[in-house]
Symmetry: C3
Subunit: 208 residues, 3 copies
């Protein structure tokens, strides 16, 4: 592994830990046991990428390296030991956002490498970044936060559009990834800072 690969690997692990911790803490709030919390953390961290790999028909990424399961175990330990501290820190948000940005880039790159068209790649970027949180909420038996709150998935989508824009403008592969990641990070930070959100659907229905 050269320096660039090592750098990306470290970012990916940071993103995995941040996602896992978010899942583990929410499982803790529901009194899940250690195994349940680990499972929810793992699904939050690897669920989006797993769905992406199944849809693309490529080998599932976390089955190629034990690191994903290992850092999720580490995350569980961190939450159990340091939970009082975690409540009061915002560093998790930063880790989560950086990880999200990388997840989107990875999703897009894998789709392109598997010869899918640009729009499939953008969707797979969103799937990689956002579906882990949806699976987490399904396991926690609650409505997906993603569908009611802030611009998480929208940031992924716009990042994906920027990625493909840079491709069309002839930018290099590293530039494509950087532009996409920076877009996701800035979008997400601005969205949280200024409480941006999408319009909520209105309904006159009593459906069932």
């Amino acid at each position: 592994m050269d320096f660039e690969q090592t750098f990306l690997f470290v970012i990916e692990m940071i993103g995995t830990v941040a996602a896992a911790i978010s899942g583990i803490r929410m499982a803790a709030a529901k009194q899940f046991d250690w195994f349940g919390a680990y499972s929810v953390g793992l699904v939050t961290a690897i669920g989006g990428g797993t769905l992406r790999d199944l849809l693309l028909g490529i080998p599932v990424f976390w089955m190629q390296s034990i690191w994903y399961l290992a850092v999720t175990l580490l995350s569980l330990g961190v939450v159990i030991v340091f939970r009082r501290i975690l409540v009061h820190t915002r560093i998790l948000f930063i880790f989560d956002t950086i990880g999200l940005a990388l997840f989107v880039v990875i999703g897009i790159q894998k789709s392109i490498a598997a010869d899918y068209s640009a729009w499939v790649a953008i969707i797979m970027g969103v799937v990689t970044g956002a579906c882990g949180g949806v699976f987490r909420d399904i396991l926690l038996n609650q409505e997906p936060l993603l569908f009611k709150k802030d611009l998480y998935a929208t940031a992924c989508l716009i990042g994906g559009l920027v990625y493909c824009g840079v491709i069309m403008l002839g930018g290099s592969v590293p530039l494509q990834g950087m532009a996409c990641a920076v877009t996701v990070i800035i979008m997400r930070m601005l969205a949280v800072r200024y409480s941006w959100s999408l319009p909520v659907m209105k309904s006159h229905d009593q459906i069932n």
Copy 2:
């Protein structure tokens, strides 16, 4: 594309729109935002076929053509703009039923084309027709309507049996599809008209 293919494509898009609108409206009733409603609509429309393609081990259908995502976006626009009108119309039920019938036929045909046996094909017909609604209800965090109400899935099942019956009787491919589709449509209409339903399970248990 010749006339027959165009005709089937139009029907499939109508079915996709009808399924997407059902998902979007139920998401609206739960105050999801635009992205959430789009996601629920999309999963309702393509979820069953996606599971089918993964189970059959064939390329996922909606990743081959952007039309499915596009008409779901159209459906979102329609619900946002025309929601008052939609509440009072029953045309959606007709579209939904026609779409359901085609989804079942497509599911069976794809399974047979992939060399699976007749009973697998019938199951895949039901999966294609019914699982989108189950995924919708999981995302909405409610018990699947399908498991408590009317004969939606049963209509798919009987349609599948008719399909295989026509195969055994030596009917042509168009006849197989037509007989199946007509059966699904008639079954579903009769079921709703006369409030047919399956027996509900009885329970003396307090399980947990």
Copy 3:
């Protein structure tokens, strides 16, 4: 089929019936109709193995033989006809535990046969044994019992470790399977007998 294969097949069917009945009874407690109960029973019985096969990229097991669907139908009939009796019997627990042990062994063997490493095989053993119950609870719209109760998944995990331990010690294939199965059965029985459970996560958070 020779004697050994027949024996294993019978055990697998017993495990399938036990899992299906657990799903069907819980669906009954929620007033699902016959189709809903059948679906929940089927997903409970085959859901874990289905996810395993999709993750491993091998043909989905229940699409190769109609027996799984057939014995689930039998299970539905048994619950409908004999539900009063079932409430008062504990034989189901024994069937369920024996079935669980075999499911874990099958999951590990299939992973090894597909050339995955030992830790993937152990995870797939847990997935095969435990995920059916998670999918059941998602369909029933309740928090997964598995994540809050007893040592179901932990028994699978320890069984998987024993399996790989016997491999490393040079034990024969039947010995690997037997040691794993016996471990799962004993662990599960002890856990229920002495009410063993994992620590529950503590939380100071109000997260959302």
